[in-house]
């Protein structure tokens, strides 16, 4: 397995408070890799650093052979890394279609863009039905679909999904998880951050457990699901 993303001894701080305290992990080509952990473990901070919104204090980020840690945020997507942020962050006063088009902001191939928009509508038919509707009027689950669809519009090599199931109904969560499986089957490499550890680990190839800024455990998704401490801390079992 070749690693598409390699993170080495990454440290990130907000002022004097260090949120990520020297973590290392890999995301292999074609696999789903999950970071799990409780609130404040540093998962979102890690993703925001990978996409350039935060600057690391030290450490290395190697993506597809290139160092990312000094690249400004707006240039990262063109390298093939797309980020669907926590809380979805769709553009509320634009239509669904305009949101999707912004996902392809740097692309010039209008035929390919049209094709990818149709693909997003096939993946999420509800978005196609409401393409001219302001995105702010969508339900939480629909907004999540839009955020994922928008991230895919850049034709990324690596898709980062931050808490895609947060605040969703169980039914909607199943739909989102099924989409992740579908994307993986189509060959997409995915870095997933989830609080719903059960669902996330069962579809992951690799998993890392984060705790207060450190990675405390890692293994295959199946291994972690069987691990006693994971079961206790994250799967709610005694």
């Amino acid at each position: 397995m070749t690693a598409l993303l390699e993170v080495e001894d990454l440290r990130v701080a907000y002022g004097k408070i260090e949120a990520v305290k020297g973590i290392s992990f890999k995301v292999n080509q074609g696999e789903v890799t999950t970071l799990i952990g409780t609130n404040g473990a540093g998962k979102t901070t890690t993703l925001r650093t990978l996409s350039g919104l935060l600057k690391p204090t030290s450490g290395k980020i190697l993506f597809d052979g290139a160092a990312l840690d000094t690249v400004p945020a707006h240039k990262i997507v063109s390298l093939g890394l797309a980020h669907s942020p926590e809380g979805r962050h769709i553009f509320p006063r634009m239509t669904i279609e305009e949101n999707l088009l912004l996902g392809a902001f740097l692309r010039k191939d209008s035929a390919g863009i049209t094709e990818d928009i149709e693909r997003a509508y096939t993946l999420f038919p509800i978005l196609g039905e409401r393409r001219k509707q302001a995105a702010g009027t969508l339900s939480g689950g629909e907004q999540q679909m839009l955020a994922m669809g928008r991230a895919l519009m850049s034709r990324p090599k690596l898709l980062m999904l931050d808490e895609p199931s947060m605040g969703l109904s169980p039914l909607m969560m199943q739909k989102i998880m099924a989409t992740i499986v579908e994307l993986k089957a189509s060959g997409m490499t995915i870095l997933l951050v989830e609080q719903n550890a059960q669902a996330a680990l069962s579809l992951s190839d690799q998993g890392y457990v984060m705790q207060t800024g450190h990675i405390v455990l890692n293994g295959t998704g199946a291994d972690l699901l069987r691990d006693e401490s994971v079961r206790k801390s994250y799967l709610g079992e005694d």
Binding site: S51, G52, L53, P72, A73, H74, K75, I76, V77, S78, A82, H83, P85, H89, F91, P92, R93, M94, E98, L101, L102, G103, F105, L106, R150, S154
Partner: protein, 309 residues
């Protein structure tokens, strides 16, 4: 009441001018949540830029021919100062507490006034601005001043261009995205630093057009002209709903017309005969602002957004 159409026409002209300046406040606020209190001075500098361009032309050039050159001169001056201010005064404070750039803007406003006062030849007094001569055009119900024709054409044209720019161009869509969610805009690959410069430059260009209209209307420019005009335009932007470009124009029109009508008619209200006339125009303009802030704090076209105080 036979003078009502004339008062409305006067208010409309005033309103178009306020609206043009207000666009600059509202666009910058919409994208970086900064009230650029130096924007009135950007307007003033546009007036001096236009005057400089006029003086550089051979004397005797017809004003119709000179006008495009004056516009270019005004726009260049305003845009240079505005983007310079963004780059060297505001950008270093992007992550500072909000009060810091606000105080910087006020300081910059005073500094720009004083620089023009001290260094522009003859600017210690008002300088004469070229005007069209000839009688007002009689349109029956009201008369149109020849010098206002420019504003009447330029303001709607500017708004049309801006609206199409924001809706139809790639940079326009990037501006909307940056205004709605700057971090996520970056994730889309939008260079938000560049978008901020574009917002400052567009607002400055509009202010320069307004300054030319102001110069033509009043026949002079002076280093303090940006102070009251800026405050009025800021009022117009808040009135219309700050952050909304159509709101800025609407707010300008409402303010201009209200001011014109208040000046003309308040004195007819029993017991208020001392409160009319031009000397009270600014008072009524700001009374209107206070009333709107009490009744509809988000402005006429603004949306109530909790985290945008």
């Amino acid at each position: 009441m036979h003078e009502l159409p004339q008062n409305l026409a006067n208010g409309l002209m005033l309103g178009l001018m306020y609206g043009l300046i207000a666009v600059g406040y509202t666009m910058v606020y919409g994208i970086v949540q900064l009230i650029n209190f130096a924007h009135g001075e950007i307007f003033m500098i546009g007036g001096f830029g236009a005057l400089t361009a006029y003086l550089a032309l051979p004397s005797g050039t017809s004003l119709w021919l000179a006008l495009p050159v004056m516009l270019v001169g005004g726009v260049i001056a305003s845009v240079l100062v505005a983007t310079g201010a963004e780059r060297f005064a505001y950008r270093p404070l992007r992550t500072a507490p909000r009060l810091a750039p606000l105080i910087t803007a006020i300081g910059l406003s005073i500094a720009l006034q004083q620089v023009v006062w001290a260094f522009y030849p003859g600017a210690k007094k008002a300088r004469t601005f070229p005007q069209f001569h000839g009688n007002p055009i009689d349109l029956g119900a009201f008369q149109l001043q020849r010098n206002d024709i420019f504003l009447l054409i330029a303001a709607p044209l500017c708004m049309l261009i801006l609206a199409s720019f924001v809706r139809l161009t790639r940079t326009g869509r990037a501006m909307q995205a940056t205004a709605q969610d700057p971090d996520t805009a970056k994730l889309m690959g939008i260079n938000t630093d560049r978008i901020i410069v574009v917002a400052f430059a567009l607002g400055a260009a509009f202010a320069a057009v307004a300054a030319v209209a102001h110069g033509l209307r009043y026949g002079q420019v002076d280093f303090m002209m940006g102070f009251i005009a800026g405050l009025k335009a800021f009022t117009a932007a808040v009135l219309g709903g700050i952050g909304n470009i159509y709101g800025a124009m609407l707010g300008g029109l409402v303010l201009g017309i209200a001011e014109s009508l208040a000046t003309a008619y308040i004195q007819n209200v029993p017991g208020m005969h001392q409160l009319g006339g031009a000397g009270w125009a600014n008072v009524w303009a700001f009374v209107l602002l206070i009333v709107v802030l009490l009744v509809r704090p988000q402005g006429l076209l603004g949306e109530r957004v909790a985290d945008r105080a």
